[in-house]
Symmetry: C2
Subunit: 430 residues, 2 copies
């Protein structure tokens, strides 16, 4: 790009950024939050439920009012398209609008609403971009109704996954396939489009869902990648027996063995804190779980994450060693149940988002953006396998998410939308 | 007692012991086990259920066939009385016939059936004792349907407790009082008798429900006392948060804190093994109990027992210290939910049971009896506050009880009944 071209592109991005409207954004977030909104401020809008379909209908109408064309694919991912001067692969932004059984108004929804705000800001700035700009609503990011999560984005990238996903059933024995078909039937006016289409890039704006930005006092975060994660289930079998009648030296207490293992695991994780390793033993099921019976069976889970894949692999080996050496007389079965390698967003995309965030913070006289990794999964994790991808974060108050009390200061939400507007405009070419 | 009197008493006890009939005992155990018997060999006969009332009816008929008078008290404790030459306070034996939701055929039932076998053996030996001999069926020893356990024996000793017990409700909202009244109404032919009547003594024969006798290869155990016990509930509150997004150093992980506490508790308990201290952390409830959420709330129980009350009190103080020092940022609430001081059976009674067991083992060419303490509660624990009390144990295979697979070698059951016959005869005066 020539120097004057670059200056023009930045000037256009500045103009779009300045058209982002704080009150319009506030209203749009509140309007979408009505679909499944609860008295406690939370939102209950699990994927492809009736209330999710109503929310999608509302978004379709908003997009059409902006002059966008609307399309849907075989996984019920929705696309709102603002045409470009050319028909080149579009720049894609957006996120998801489904929630956990009870979630907040921002997780996912914010990225979609901010995407529509960018389209409106482009309109208000009178700018037609070179490439089309699209806002996507990915289906079933949360995975709470149908597991796993990120079905929509992962199937878009690899459509062969869809058949397997369609067979997954929810707690009421409805299949994901049936739910997708009902959604498609409910929108007969929305044309179908192919999955796996080429994209110029994907930029996802999301709340952090963690405390790093708030702790640092910084309103915008440039996500450089997503941590790798490994999940395990550990089953420890001992012998249940009477707590009063069984001498200590002949017990095979499954929980006592687990306590030894867990104690060593935490100690080894603490030794590796510099690597950014995160260890959570989140789920525990003890049997027979009676005050006066020695635990005979314990099952617990291990969630280990690290941005450094080498450090994670090393801790994995240490973990296996600990389980073996602290089993005592118990029988220990370790089962790996999930693994995801780390995602590293391409430097060019990270640099673009960094420029957008830095410019936004500069204009608002706010502290410069922070680079950080995401501990949570996002649709961007899958898109990164398909096209140049980036993410940016705004803070989450107290790091709380997946909870009715999830919140972000509105001023930060505006900054996030402004940075997104800047980045999308720069990438789409003004 | 004069030397010749003692010799006569021992000779009479020997005669009764020798009348204990192995096959009759086997048949009686099997017959009682039919009431609530299951295909897996277990027995489901919770207190004062229809099946428990049928079992009691069966026992009443057996006792009457033996020429016993039958009486019932206000807590539905049943008494089968074989008259003595005098009307002095009787020698009481027996136990309970209620079971856990699923128990075995021996826990409690064995002591009652063996008591009736002793009455039959007295009959067959043609011996009328000086004192009456009674067999008791205590109501609700298990405490699984209505808590706490040992309602019948504790109310017998302290009838003021009955009013409170009557108000306790089971899972179907039936009160213990209603259940007792229904039992009394179902036996209009059984005369009522007062509680808290004077007794010459109480001797309870029971399965060990632990592994000590089996491990030692000894068929009979003389119970010198019952361990003291303290029960606690520990509630630890941290902050639930996303396992992926929350850095280790700002977590308030309730389970991680509990692991530290539990690790120290087990270590301190291990240091005190010589005192006979027993520590069980049996019940764990973790919230929200999700693989990828840091535990925000954990509740666990502490069951600590020791035959040495001083050692138990010392460990109690150490425990409080550990909970305080390993709380970290969590909030810890300790709640004492039950305490029972140790029971020491009087030496004279222990000596009598020791003589009975030793004589039985000698006649059967078996290893000499072992003195041991009971880790479990028994009705004898309450009776010890009322009259001279003793207990004897037979082994439990693999120490298993409260389980359909609860078993004792029949030869050992016979030895237990023989020792009981000897001890009762000696105490009742032949």
């Amino acid at each position: 790009m020539q120097t004057d071209e670059l200056a023009r592109s930045r000037a256009a991005a500045d103009r779009v950024l300045q058209q982002v409207d704080s009150e319009r954004l506030r209203t749009a977030i509140a309007e979408l939050a009505r679909y499944g909104g609860r008295d406690d401020g939370g939102v209950a809008r699990e994927t492809l439920t009736e209330i999710d379909l109503q929310a999608r209908r509302y978004l379709i109408e908003r997009a059409r009012a902006l002059g966008c064309s609307v399309a849907i694919d075989d996984c019920a991912n929705l696309f709102f398209r603002r045409p470009g001067r050319s028909d080149l692969p579009p720049v894609l932004t957006g996120s998801h609008v489904d929630t956990q059984p009870v979630g907040g108004k921002l997780d996912g929804a914010y990225g979609v609403v901010a995407g529509l705000e960018v389209l409106q800001a482009l309109q208000d700035a009178g700018i037609q971009t070179e490439r089309p700009v699209e806002v996507v609503v990915w289906t079933n990011e949360e995975g709470s109704r149908f597991g796993p999560g990120c079905m929509g984005s992962s199937a878009y990238v690899d459509p062969a996954k869809l058949a397997g996903y369609r067979a997954v059933r929810d707690g009421s024995q409805h299949s994901f396939g049936e739910a997708v078909d009902r959604a498609l039937q409910a929108m007969p006016d929305v044309p179908r489009r192919a999955m796996q289409q080429p994209l110029a890039g994907f930029i996802e704006l999301h709340i952090e869902q963690g405390p790093v930005l708030e702790t640092a006092g910084v309103p915008l975060g440039v996500v450089t990648g997503i941590q790798s994660v490994r999940w395990f289930r550990v089953k420890v079998s001992g012998v249940a027996a009477h707590a009063g009648t069984t001498p200590m030296d002949i017990r095979t207490d499954a929980m006592a063995a687990c306590i030894q293992m867990a104690h060593r695991l935490y100690a080894e994780a603490a030794r590796r804190q510099a690597s950014g390793l995160r260890l959570t033993l989140g789920r525990w099921v003890v049997g027979p779980n009676s005050i006066n019976t020695i635990p005979g069976e314990v099952e617990f889970t291990i969630d280990m994450r690290c941005v450094d894949e080498g450090a994670l692999a090393e801790f994995d080996a240490v973990m296996r060693d600990i389980l073996q050496h602290h089993a005592g007389r118990t029988r220990v079965v370790l089962e790996a149940i999930f693994e995801r390698k780390p995602t590293h967003f391409p430097t060019a995309m990270t640099a673009l988002v960094e420029e957008a965030c830095a410019r936004t913070c500069q204009l608002a006289a706010k502290p410069a953006p922070l680079a950080l990794t995401s501990g949570a999964f996002h649709d961007a994790m899958y898109l990164a396998d398909h096209c140049p991808t980036a993410m940016l974060f705004v803070p989450s108050e107290a790091g709380i998410s997946h909870n009715a009390s999830e919140q972000t200061a509105h001023a930060d939400l505006v900054l996030g939308a402004q940075a997104l507007a800047y980045a999308v405009t720069r990438m789409a070419g003004a």
